[in-house]
């Protein structure tokens, strides 16, 4: 079968060999976890415990504040020692006492659409691909919308990251179960699992397990960044374009990450809330690994579990190298959105030279998956041309960073575009 894809995009060095064959492994549980109240897009969760309370593993410790928000649960059992800086600190008593209600909620067939949505919302599940949008919101389909297809995103187009790859190979059955649950919640006929062809074992394993599922299909995807971008994935799998400014729902599609499907399956079959996630620890560390980490574990402890830094570290990135965030405070905890911890060596960080003038080579134009003119957006931002920026569709930028990656003058084009987006958004607010 021919691999499908979208127009434009880039081919960065993938560097997935470092960790792609390392099976998922439980990371050591820390003595203390720091659980953020803002691990999702939307309103921060409201704490429902107090300092001094004893909590159980999986107990809800903060509640979604509003519709677009997510519950937060204890990832260890122990004592709440602090609630500060938008986070709840729990001292681990090492017992892993299960909270009440962590048990099977039934099977998909026996549960109604409403019950399923309730389970997902209760479990505090958010998109694990990195965007952390609350999943129960995504699968609550408005009455006037109709979902034809659910796509599971197994592209994992970010260089270095392999945790979705491992998940697809090792937790294939759970992933497919999760997909069926999402299909039921969205009342969708078809399910697709899009996987880049650099993960043949994941494609093969998934195809084996869906042999008897007429409504589910594996779609091999070309290895290209940002193949896993929601809109690029829909374009590749179904040949549909999400309207400018619209949502996948507008073309009858709901996209979820493969790892999200797995935690949905766990929430249904085991009653397990989202208290841990797979993380790829890679780059310039002694032993790159794919670890299942309790939410709230400090980054430095996970790095130590991987043998620590190989050489002198230059950058520690949460997520992948294309869209991840550089982190300086290594005591910061892993959150629901942490798909990777990537260490770049000092030498690698130093090799990037200072920006040179734009020579209008148009490489950014040739790679932009949205077909914007990044160099023009940069110049319009510099010139404060807010209305022009709007005409040039700056708000459609998906911030994939392909322009900055490809620029031979090493200009941080995306930084300029983000600034331009901010100016346009401010302008729109002022004129409302």
């Amino acid at each position: 079968m021919e691999a499908k894809t979208f127009d434009h995009g880039i081919h960065p060095r993938y560097n997935k060999d470092l960790s792609k064959d390392k099976a998922l492994k439980e990371a050591a549980v820390p003595d203390e976890v720091v659980i953020s109240l803002q691990q999702h897009i939307g309103a921060p969760a409201k704490p429902i415990v107090e300092v001094g309370d004893t909590v159980d593993f999986g107990e809800k410790i903060a509640e979604a504040a509003g519709f677009v928000s997510a519950n937060v649960h204890a990832s260890v059992s122990g004592e709440v020692v602090a609630i500060e800086d938008m986070a709840i600190r729990i001292k681990n008593d090492g017992e892993d006492r299960l909270a009440e209600g962590i048990e099977s909620q039934g099977e998909i067939e026996d549960l109604s659409v409403e019950e399923l949505r309730e389970i997902v919302g209760e479990a505090g599940i958010v998109g694990l691909g990195g965007a952390t949008f609350p999943t129960h919101v995504k699968v609550s389909i408005p009455d006037d919308k109709n979902v034809e297809a659910v796509i599971l995103n197994g592209a994992e187009c970010e260089p270095y990251l392999t945790v979705d790859h491992r998940t697809m190979v090792e937790l294939t059955e759970e992933m497919i179960y999760g997909l069926k649950a999402i299909m039921k919640m969205c009342e969708a006929e078809k399910g697709y699992i899009g996987i880049e062809v650099n993960k043949p074992d994941a494609i093969k394993r998934t195809e084996e397990l869906i042999a008897d599922e007429p409504n589910i299909e594996v779609v091999p995807l070309e290895v290209k960044y940002p193949q896993g971008g929601e809109k690029q994935l829909i374009d590749a799998v179904l040949g549909k374009e999400v309207p400018s400014g619209g949502l996948p729902l507008d073309v009858g599609v709901v996209v979820n990450n493969v790892s999200t499907a797995v935690v949905i399956a766990e929430a249904i079959r085991e009653g397990r809330p989202l208290v841990g996630r797979g993380v790829t620890i890679t780059g310039d560390v002694k032993e790159p690994q794919n670890l299942v980490v309790r939410i709230g574990t400090p980054i430095e402890e996970i790095l130590e579990a991987c043998g620590g830094f190989k050489g002198e570290p230059g950058k520690v990135i949460l997520g992948g190298p294309m869209m991840g965030q550089a982190q300086v405070d290594l005591t910061a905890p892993v959150t629901k959105g942490t798909s990777g911890i990537l260490v770049l060596s000092k030498a690698e960080v130093a090799q990037y030279q200072e920006a040179k003038p734009c020579i209008r080579c148009a490489r950014c134009v040739d790679v932009c998956p949205v077909k914007l003119i990044p160099t023009a957006l940069m110049n319009l931002t510099k010139g404060d041309k807010v209305l022009k920026l709007q005409d040039y569709n700056v708000l459609d930028c998906i911030e994939c960073g392909s322009c900055s990656y490809t620029c031979p003058s090493k200009i941080e084009i995306l930084d300029w575009i983000k600034l331009g987006k901010g100016k346009v958004q401010a302008h729109i607010r002022e004129n409302e």
Binding site: D7, I10, P12, D235, K315, M322, V328, K356, A362, Y405
Partner: protein
């Protein structure tokens, strides 16, 4: 764990491609090697003197301007050298070297730095130098030396004013500017640039195609003569494709190339100047900002939003 680590914080993406601006410049210079070799073969050591004079003067001018403006000296990026070499290749082989020096200074100072330096110039800098020389030293700029091994050794007229066989035009055994005579050598370099992705095929194809069609319709000498004679091939492959001074959109590049072709033919066939390549590209350079503005591609999701 040590928390006094010196970690860099910067925004994504955290990795970059290996391509650099200076590599692009040096790759284009590499693509000029066959043309430079042909110019030496046909016109002897004089070609080397002219290339060296223009290359060195261009680089020195760049250093001087950047020092005066208090800007970092970026002579290593290869762009000034490239401008100098391209200028040299558009000059008559026996041009007095002091004129070449003037042309190179004008190219770098007025063609490039007056607009703010690399990336900001509206006009192709080498062509600015060439235009200055063409208008200032009319006689010297139109004296064409016969090439070594040329069949028309007595002729000193530019092929556009005389008769020449197409095969000689193709190989370069005709009088003309240093690097403009051998279509063969130019095409070799052009194919390399296309293969490496440093030029967009739309510009040479659009430019040459337009000239071919129009000269078939209105030219007395026919398309094959016009394609291989004069500075067209060199201009279409090495000058109209200059990244800084050509459009960034695909549709824009078509318009730009077709415009260059139109103006070239108008000047060649109906004008007083025998050659129109120089002014056609400069005139179209001027239109680039406008062309870019009116040829924005349809973005992802745009149709359905409006439909």
């Amino acid at each position: 764990m040590d928390n006094t680590l010196d970690l860099t914080v910067s925004s994504a993406p955290h990795v970059k491609s290996e391509e650099t601006t200076s590599n692009i410049m040096y790759q284009v210079i590499l693509a000029l090697v066959p043309v430079m070799f042909a110019s030496f073969y046909f016109f002897g050591p004089g070609a080397i003197y002219l290339l060296l004079t223009c290359g060195i003067t261009a680089m020195l001018s760049e250093v001087a301007v950047q020092k005066l403006r208090g800007k970092p000296v970026t002579i290593n990026d290869g762009s000034a050298l490239l401008t100098g070499l391209i200028l040299a290749l558009t000059l008559p082989p026996d041009l007095p070297l002091w004129m070449a020096v003037f042309g190179s200074v004008v190219a770098i100072v007025l063609g490039k730095h007056i607009f703010g330096g690399l990336g900001y110039n509206v006009f192709n800098p080498a062509l600015m130098g060439r235009a200055f020389l063409t208008l200032s030293y009319v006689v010297s700029m139109t004296e064409w030396t016969a090439p070594n091994g040329g069949v028309d050794t007595l002729s000193t007229a530019t092929p556009l004013e005389g008769e020449a066989e197409v095969i000689n035009l193709f190989i370069g055994r005709v009088g003309g500017s240093l690097g403009e005579t051998s279509a063969l050598a130019i095409l070799l370099g052009g194919l390399y640039l296309l293969y490496k992705g440093y030029i967009d095929w739309r510009i040479p194809v659009g430019y040459l195609g337009t000239v071919a069609v129009l000269t078939t319709l209105v030219g007395e000498q026919g398309a094959s003569f016009h394609l291989f004679a004069g500075g067209l091939m060199f201009g279409a492959i090495f000058m109209a494709t200059d990244m800084v001074t050509s459009p960034v959109t695909k549709k824009g590049r078509w318009i730009f190339a077709i415009g260059c072709g139109f103006i070239t033919v108008i000047i060649r066939v109906f004008g007083n100047y025998p050659e129109g390549v120089l002014f056609s590209i400069l005139l179209m350079n001027m239109c680039v900002p406008l062309i870019d503005q009116y040829t924005l591609p349809q973005i992802y999701g745009e149709v359905k939003a409006n439909g």
